[in-house]
Amino acid sequence: MAERYTRTAILLHWLIALLIFTAFPLGVYMHELPFSPDKLRFYSWHKWIGVSIFLLSIVRLTWRSTHRPPPLPDLMADWEKFAAHAVHFSLYALIIIIPLSGWLMSSAKGVQTVWLGVLPLPDLLGKNKELGDLLKEVHESLNFLMLGLILAHVGAALKHHFIERDNVLSRMLPMLRKKS
C-alpha cells in the first residue's frame, strides 16, 4: 500500500495552497482600499490567481478521482477518520466553488474576468447589482469557512506529525519521512 500521495497530487496540493495563501490576504486587503490604479491592479491579480486555483483544482480533482490517496493510520478512531474525510471533501468542494463565486460576482458587477489580462472568461451572468452584492457576501463567507477548515486541516496535520508521530503529514510532505 502506498504511503504517500503521488508526485502530481503533492505538487498540485502545495501549489494550490500557495496560491490560496496569496489570494486570501490580497482579497482581504484590496477591498478596503480607496479607488486607485493599485486597487484595480490588485483586483486583477486576485482574479488571475483565483482562475489559476480553479483550473489547478479541476486537474487536482480529476487526478484524485483516478488515484486513491494513501490510507489513514489504523490507529485513528472512526470519528477522526470521518472528520478527516469530511474536511478533505469540503476543501475539495471549496477550491472549486470559491473561485466560481468570484467569477460570477465579477460578471454580476459588470466586469468580465480576463485571465492574466489575456484570456477572457465568458460572463455567465449579466450585470445585476443586487446579485453582485449577494455574491460578494457568498464569496466572503465561503472564504472564512475555508479559513476555518484550513486551520483544522493544518492543526490536524501538525498534531499527527508532532503528537501522534505518524505518517499523515509525510504522505503529503515526503521529505519529512523518517529514514528507517
Binding site: F35, P37, L40, Q112
Partner: protein, 185 residues
C-alpha cells in the same frame, strides 16, 4: 402667374424640408463607451445628452450634427468609478460639465457608410475627430450608428496616478446610436 411661381417655389422648399430628419428620439438613442482596465473591457454610458442632427437621406453629405454630453450623467460601470470621475484628475465636471462634438464635414465612404469630421471638446480641450457612421431607414426615422476611438490622455482625462496606461488604457471607444425623426408638425 407670379403667385403660381411662388407656390411652386414654396412647394419645393417645403418638400426639401420634409426630406430633412432633425428630431432626435432620445429614448431610441444612446452614447456609450468602452474603456479598458487591466485588459478588461468595461462598458459605460452617458445617460443625458442632446443632439441637433440634421440629415437629408437624399444628400447625407449636407448633414450636420452638434452633440452635447452631460458629463455628470456618466456611468463608467461602477459606483466607485463614478464617484471618482467628476474630480480634477478625470473630467473636472465643476469647470467642464459638458463635452461637445460639432461636425464640420460629412463625406461618403461607401454604400451607406459616411464619415463625419468635426471637433470634439472635452475638459476645455478641442481636437479634431473622425467618426465613421452608417445611415439606415428604420420605420419613419433615420438611424445613425457609428463608433470612433479617442485617446483620453490627449484631453487630459485621467491624469496623476491615473496616467498609467497599463491600468487604464489610453484608447477609449465611443459608440453612438441616434434615431432621428421628421420634424414634428
Amino acid at each position: 402667374m407670379k403667385s403660381g411661381l411662388l407656390s411652386v417655389l414654396l412647394l419645393c422648399f417645403s418638400s426639401a424640408t420634409a426630406e430633412e430628419f432633425n428630431t432626435l428620439h432620445p429614448q431610441q438613442s444612446s452614447v456609450t463607451f468602452v474603456s479598458k482596465q487591466m485588459g478588461v473591457p468595461v462598458a459605460g454610458s452617458f445617460n443625458k445628452f442632446s443632439a441637433d442632427i440634421a440629415v437629408n437621406p437624399a444628400k447625407p453629405e449636407t448633414g450636420s450634427a452638434q452633440i452635447s454630453i452631460d458629463l455628470n450623467s456618466m456611468d463608467a460601470g461602477s459606483a466607485e468609478a463614478n464617484d471618482e470621475l467628476g474630480g480634477r484628475n478625470w473630467f473636472n465636471t465643476r469647470q467642464h460639465p459638458v463635452a461637445r462634438f460639432v461636425s464640420s464635414q460629412v463625406t461618403r465612404l461607401g454604400a451607406d457608410r459616411y464619415e463625419a469630421l468635426g471637433n470634439m471638446t472635452i475638459k476645455g480641450k478641442t481636437l479634431p475627430v473622425k467618426a465613421p457612421f452608417t445611415l439606415k431607414r428604420v420605420g419613419g426615422a433615420i438611424v445613425v450608428d457609428g463608433a470612433f476611438p479617442i485617446k483620453r490622455l490627449d484631453y487630459g482625462i485621467g491624469t496623476g496616478i491615473w496616467a498609467d496606461t497599463s491600468v487604464v488604457a489610453d484608447e477609449v471607444k465611443i459608440t453612438f446610436h441616434f434615431t432621428v425623426g421628421k420634424p414634428r408638425q
